[in-house]
């Protein structure tokens, strides 16, 4: 508590908070990076699911890991060619 007050007065950021954030981020990123085949498998699975509903351009899609200060996200980008007719 005292620490929190001190921080507010001095405007100083706790270095351990930064350490923790960087750690949490790098651990997630390490795991995504380690396994390239996982990413490819994931991409194929996503394509299969989306293809049930949309006709997509398999060649121009991209799957990326986006890193930001606070969050890391999986970004999947694909142009949709046609909406498929729902099959009964």
């Amino acid at each position: 508590m005292l620490q929190g007050l001190l921080k507010r007065f001095t405007g100083q950021k706790n270095s351990k908070e930064e350490a923790k954030k960087r750690l949490q981020f790098s651990l997630i990123y390490d795991k995504l990076e380690v396994n390239d085949t996982t990413l490819t498998d994931l991409q194929n699975d996503i394509v299969d699911v989306i293809s049930k509903y949309f006709e997509i351009d398999r060649d121009s899609l991209e799957l990326k890991v986006k890193r930001d200060d606070d969050v890391s996200a999986l970004v999947f980008n694909t142009p949709i060619l046609h909406v498929k007719r729902k099959q009964a």
Binding site: S15, E17, A19, Q24, D30
Partner: protein, 265 residues
Amino acid sequence: MEGKIIVVTSGKGGVGKTTATSSIGAALALEGKRVAIVDMDIGLRNLDVVMGLENRIVFNIVDVVQGRCKIDQAAIRDRRIDNLFLIPASQSDNKDVLTTSGVERVCNDLRKKFDYVLMDSPAGIEKGFQNSIVGANEALVVCTPDVSAVRDADRVIGLLYARSLEPRLIVNRIEPSRVERGEMLSHEDVMEVLSIELAGLVPMDEKVLISSNTGTPLVLQNESKAGQAFRRIAKRLNGETDVPIEIPTHKTSMWNKISKTFGLK
């Protein structure tokens, strides 16, 4: 009944594996168990000097694995603590000289002779590490509260899980005053990031260097906070699950608070 092999490992170097192995091993022997400590850091042996047994080496673990001697010939008996033995590493061999199958075979023999066998793993995740974990029934991962050590610990934990070992964590070199000031990750932060079970918390302690200077067991020093922390870790490993995990505190800070309250400062 067969004994247990416990590997002490970390990924990152210099975080306290050798200190932890020698201290927990000595503490388990003080609990009345028959204990062997094995230095798996081939080519860079250290346990012998930390334990003050460097003058008594005849054979080493490479000799045992390669069949040049028996386990009993290589195991050096500690004269200060009953039932404590060291099997040293070799200093001259290449670090990759041991085969995994050879180590596994010796581990099976060791389990028959001792209640606990502690393997002091080298840093890294290469062959020396693989050889250290091949015969293990349990694993202790040591890390210090800093970004690189925790990240390496995470990597090693993943590798241990892949071998069906459920590691427990020792956070070493905790400096309570810096944790209090928000300059150092707390053990809660580390636990949250790694999400594994805790084996114990060990404070930064000047006595560690002094005890390794003189080659005397840290756990025999009653004033050593780190030594006492390792003794509690050993008790819990040995089944005394009611021994609490103590969180290192900054003693003088408590005193400061009291003195401040009473206007003494």
